[in-house]
Structure formats: structure tokens, C-alpha cells
């Protein structure tokens, strides 16, 4: 004869069994003294458990009026409504600010063109948004012979001295076919400390990256104009740039974007983007992404130009902006800014990881 398992007797005593199960158990218990003894033991165990647990009771517990809870619940509901209203209000404020920002950047770029009549004339074929520096296509690419491009380090400075350098750089470098060369290489980072010389020439390269295009525009030789958008640098709204460059618009999350510059190539894959963002300290860092040859040119023209003139003074080097680049396949990602190399390296690694997951 099968005896009743203990857990079934617990469930029986806990009145957790169906009527038919109870009948079965009771008829068995009537015939089985052993199971009756077990049942009595379990009943005693149950009682003891209940008695022990009864000791674990809080000292006093008065029942607060239910209406007081009703009041609190109503308060919670109205708080939730208020929070929703505040959130909606905040969202509309953000939208308004965003509109204002892009509106003001449009006005600024318009003002730039007014301020540079010579260029405005020369650019009459360009769309109205263009505020541009047509330099990258004319740059010499000194690192072309090297299998792995070198990222240069440069102080970020701007001055009117930039102007002659732009011209000289362009006169030196008519090599346009440089663009088509690709140097697929494993991902690798190189930092070259800045050679703080040839201020003028350096300024020329940096002017490409500078946050306000006005200076470059006034300094440009009209003969340097482009026939179409290819190779042109344009300052764009964040959304516009995103639409053009797709998800490949590298930037540091959480920092305000100061400026977005895009150089359209003949094909969309040749787009070079420069996103300038401001750190809490006021420092501006730039994230550059594009075909390796283009980005290398952009960066290496700075070091080449720097090598052309006087050697750097040590004091100047301390304040230098640095550049850090990483090549993945035929694309290159670079960050420039007055930050320690470690910080730049960490940033670029993170950016690269983020871009790869996109």
C-alpha cells in the first residue's frame, strides 16, 4: 500500500487540495496508522511554525485611516501629472532652443558670405548653405609613400597670417590624383609631437578645422574656387550633416556640438566630416572621419607645412593641440584638440568601437 508523501500531507492540512484528493487521502488515513502518525507529526510541525513565526511580529501596529491613503494616492497622481507637464514643457523648450540655434547658424553663415564679397562672387555657383574652404583637394600628401599614414600633432591657433600659406600650399600641390590612392592597413595609431614652426603654413591647414569659416573665406585666393560641390567644405546643421554622412558622423556623446563641417566627395563614400565639440573647459576638440587619404592629407599637410619653417620653441609645444588618428581599412578616424595624448587615444578607441557597432 502506497503511503501518503509528506508534502501531500502538508498540502492536505493547508487545505490546498481538491475535494477528490482530500477524499482519497482521508480514506487512506482511515486504514493506515502509520500515515495517521505522520499526519499528526506534520500538524504539530505546522502549529509550531506558526507559533514561532508569531513571535516575529512588530511591537505595535495601528491601522491608519484609509482616507489618509486615498489622499496620498491622489497627491501621487497629481504629482505624476505635473511631472508629465514639466517634461512636455522641457521638451518644447529644447526644441525651441534647437530651432533657434540652427536659425542663428544660418544667419551666421549668411553674414560670412556678406563679409567676404570676393569669395561670394567666386562661389556664385555654390548652394546658399556653402561656407567653404576648397583646400583639401589641392593638398600635397607627403605620407603617400608610407604604408601607414601618420597623424600629426598641431597647435590649434588661428590668425590672419594663415592667408599666404593657403596660397602657397595650393601652389605647391596640384596633385589631385592623390585622392584615389588608398593604403589599406591594419588599424594603428601614431602620434607625432607637433613641430611648432611655419606658423603661417600651419595656420593654413588648421583653418580647415577652425570653428569660424570667416577667416579662411577672406583669405582665399579666388582662383582656388571649385566648379562643383566636390571637395568643398560646408558648415552644416547637425541634422543636415547626419543626413549626408549617415550614421558615420563621429562625435563624442554628451558634448555640445559647436560646428559640423562636411566635405562632399564625388561619391558619398568620400565624404569627410569634421565635428567640433566643446569641452566643459571651453576647449574645442574635433572629430574627423573620412577616406584615409583625405584625412591623412588634412592632418599631414599640417606637419609638412610645419616642417617647412622655423623649428618649434619648446614653450609653444606645451600648449600644442594634438592629433590622434586611427586607420581602419580605407577609412580614417582622427581627433584633434589640446588634450593629453592618453585622453585622445582613449576617445578615439571608444569612437572607433562605437562606429564599428553602427
Amino acid at each position: 500500500m502506497r503511503h501518503i508523501p509528506e508534502d501531500e500531507l502538508h498540502a492536505y492540512l493547508d487545505q490546498a487540495l481538491s475535494r477528490t484528493q482530500c477524499v482519497e487521502i482521508e480514506s487512506h488515513l482511515a486504514d493506515c496508522p502509520s500515515c495517521r502518525a505522520t499526519r499528526d507529526g506534520i500538524a504539530a510541525l505546522r502549529d509550531r511554525t506558526t507559533a514561532l513565526l508569531a513571535r516575529l511580529a512588530p511591537p505595535t501596529s495601528s491601522l491608519p485611516p484609509f482616507d489618509s491613503l486615498r489622499g496620498r494616492a491622489a497627491e501621487v497622481r497629481s504629482q505624476r501629472r505635473r511631472r508629465l507637464q514639466i517634461a512636455a514643457w522641457a521638451a518644447s523648450l529644447v526644441a525651441a532652443l534647437g530651432l533657434g540655434w540652427s536659425g542663428s547658424s544660418l544667419v551666421r553663415s549668411h553674414a560670412d558670405r556678406v563679409g567676404a564679397p570676393a569669395l561670394a562672387r567666386s562661389l556664385d555657383t555654390a548652394p546658399p548653405v556653402a561656407a567653404s574652404v576648397p583646400v583639401a583637394n589641392h593638398a600635397p600628401a607627403p605620407s603617400r609613400e608610407q604604408p601607414v599614414p601618420v597623424a600629426a600633432a598641431e597647435p590649434v591657433r588661428r590668425s590672419a597670417e594663415a592667408r599666404p600659406a593657403v596660397r602657397s600650399a595650393e601652389q605647391r600641390s596640384p596633385a589631385k590624383q592623390a585622392h584615389d590612392e588608398r593604403h589599406p592597413a591594419p588599424s594603428r595609431e601614431v602620434v607625432v609631437p607637433s613641430q611648432d614652426s611655419a606658423r603661417a603654413a600651419r595656420e593654413a591647414t588648421l583653418s580647415v578645422l577652425s570653428p569660424t569659416p570667416t577667416l579662411e573665406l577672406t583669405g582665399l585666393d579666388p582662383s582656388a574656387r571649385q566648379d562643383d560641390l566636390a571637395g568643398m567644405w560646408r558648415t552644416m546643421s547637425w541634422d543636415g550633416a547626419k543626413a549626408e554622412a549617415g550614421e558615420r558622423l563621429p562625435h563624442i556623446d554628451g558634448l555640445p556640438v559647436v560646428q559640423v563641417q562636411v566635405q562632399s566627395g564625388e561619391q558619398s563614400s568620400r565624404t569627410v566630416t569634421v565635428v567640433a565639440q566643446q569641452l566643459a573647459s571651453g576647449q574645442v576638440i574635433r572629430t574627423i572621419e573620412g577616406p584615409a587619404t583625405d584625412v591623412t592629407q588634412l592632418l599631414s599637410r599640417r606637419s609638412l607645412a610645419a616642417a617647412d619653417s622655423a623649428p618649434p620653441s619648446d614653450s609653444a609645444r606645451v600648449d600644442d593641440g594634438h592629433a590622434m588618428a586611427m586607420q581602419v581599412g580605407d577609412r580614417m578616424l582622427a581627433i584633434t584638440g589640446d588634450l593629453p595624448s592618453d585622453s585622445l587615444r582613449a576617445m578615439i578607441r571608444r569612437l572607433n568601437a562605437e562606429l564599428r557597432t553602427k
Binding site: E6, D7, E8, H10, A11, D14, A16, I42, L45, R46, R48, T49, T50, L52, L53, R55, L56, A57, P58, P59, T60, S61, L63, P64, F66, L69, R70, R72, A73, V76, R77
Partner: protein, 172 residues
């Protein structure tokens, strides 16, 4: 207007406080949390309010325990030495005795696995097997097995302790 929730409140508030007290070991806090549970119930209007109330109470107690653990860890870091367990302050003689009895059950309860303890406390709070099963994710059939084990362990742990105390008293 008599409210179903109000009836539930009248009938189960004490059980909810007790259930919470056995988790946070602070009577005042247990009452605060119990009221919070019913305030939430008033906003949510759950379909099965009794089971819902205990489920939310269990969640609140878990959050509370986590926060307490964080505070404790933080304090430990600050002070560099472990924090002593909160002690029950002795008052009158009968209170002392009550506290000692309570402490021994508390200790016996702490020897149970978290799941066994939870199911035992839910049963003691008045939940049915299906309600316990729904809340813990256990099969209804397994509730009896778990309860059988939990009851046995609680009583055994308590009896073992009492024997220890008695032999200690005999030796001294």
C-alpha cells in the same frame, strides 16, 4: 462608497506590515512601506489585489534591503570596519525575554534559503498555494514540497539553537 481595496486594507494591513517587518526588521519602516503598498494599489487598481499587494510588498522590501546593503557598504568603506548588527535595546524584563525569543526565531529563519523563507512568509501572511505559486514562479505542486522543507528546517534550526543555549547554560 465602500471600496474593495478598503476592505482588503482592513483585513490585510496587519499581515502586510508583519510580512514586511520580517524582511526589514524595523517596525516603523515596515508600516511606512505597507502604507506605500496600499497607496500604490489605489493608483493601480490591480485585478487580484491581495496577491498584488504582497508582490509589491516583497519588491519594496527587496529594494529596501538593497539600499540598506549599499548604505552599509558605503559606511564600511568610510569607517574601515564592519558595522555591527543593529541591536534591540532592552527595556523591561518581559520585553527582554520577548526580544530574546524573537531573536532566536529570527536567526532560525535566516538559516533558510531565500526561496524557502519567502514561501513560508507568504503562506504565513495568508496567501493560498496558487497565489504563492503565481508570485514566486513555482509550480503549485511544488509549494507543498517547499513548505514542508521550510517548516522542518525552521523548527529544526530553532530547536538546535535552544539545545545549544541550554547546554551553554548548564556548562556555565
Amino acid at each position: 462608497m465602500t471600496d474593495d481595496l478598503e476592505q482588503l486594507y482592513q483585513s490585510t494591513y496587519t499581515a502586510v506590515v508583519r510580512f514586511l517587518y520580517r524582511k526589514v526588521w524595523d517596525a516603523e519602516r515596515a508600516e511606512d512601506l505597507a502604507q506605500e503598498v496600499f497607496v500604490r494599489a489605489l493608483s493601480h487598481r490591480p485585478e487580484k489585489p491581495r496577491a498584488w499587494v504582497f508582490a509589491v510588498a516583497a519588491n519594496l522590501a527587496r529594494d529596501e534591503a538593497r539600499a540598506a546593503m549599499r548604505r552599509k557598504r558605503h559606511l564600511t568603506l568610510l569607517k574601515g570596519d564592519p558595522i555591527a548588527q543593529p541591536r534591540i535595546t532592552p527595556a523591561a524584563d518581559d520585553t527582554v525575554e520577548h526580544d530574546e525569543q524573537m531573536a532566536s526565531v529570527q536567526e532560525a529563519l535566516s538559516t533558510l534559503t531565500p526561496r524557502d523563507r519567502e514561501i513560508l512568509l507568504l503562506w504565513d501572511a495568508g496567501l493560498s498555494y496558487p497565489e504563492i505559486a503565481a508570485q514566486t514562479g513555482l509550480a503549485v505542486g511544488a509549494v507543498g514540497t517547499t513548505l514542508a522543507r521550510a517548516r522542518r528546517r525552521l523548527v529544526d534550526a530553532h530547536d538546535r539553537q535552544q539545545r545549544h543555549l541550554e547546554s551553554d547554560a548548564a556548562h556555565s
